[in-house]
Amino acid sequence: MRAAVHAQKEMTDETQMAAAPARDNRREVRAITFGVAGWMVPGLGHALQKMWGRAITFFAVVGVLVFVGAGMRGNLFNSDGGDAFATLGYLADLGTGSFYVLAKYIEVGGPDVSHAYGDYGTRFLAAAGVLNLLAALHAYEAARGRKA
């Protein structure tokens, strides 16, 4: 009787061990999906996890930074940047996800960094991108259960 119970327990343990990697894989895929969603639309990664406060905050903060940055005629970098700084700027700007397209749409007259506010606009746009990447990474980590 004891041997039978022991054998059954061993079988249950093995089944659980086999199921664990599959569950981990599902969780990882889910976490990556939330991270990518958060990058594409600021706050979406948190909204999908029902973290409404963070979702609304990131959407609003990144949105305002992009809106004001583009309105100040900051430099929105393109993929054909001539040097390493332009490439880094492009990567930072891309961090805003879909808002990058929105910024292109808002900035009708093109960048003007001959004034202080144009320079500020460039920083606003880059900060929005980096902040959104940070938020997307947070959404990914939260989905993996590492952060709350």
Binding site: T57, M72, V108, G109, A116, F124, H138
Partner: protein, 74 residues
Amino acid sequence: MPMKPRGAGKLDLAMKFHLSHLQGMLLFALLISIAFGFLSRRRPLDRVKYIAWSLLLFLLFGIGIGWAMYPFSR
């Protein structure tokens, strides 16, 4: 045939935010502090404390560095 002006057909919000250095810094510090507060704290009271502390440090360092650069500005 008249040429189309640059950006024609795009959304023209006619936005031009002419902010001063101080206004730009204030807005930037406030937005980033709020985002950091929500990112790193869970409880509302902790968030408010973090946002206030972060904003204070942003402004202190910003104005401090501004004053430190003053002798070299001309």
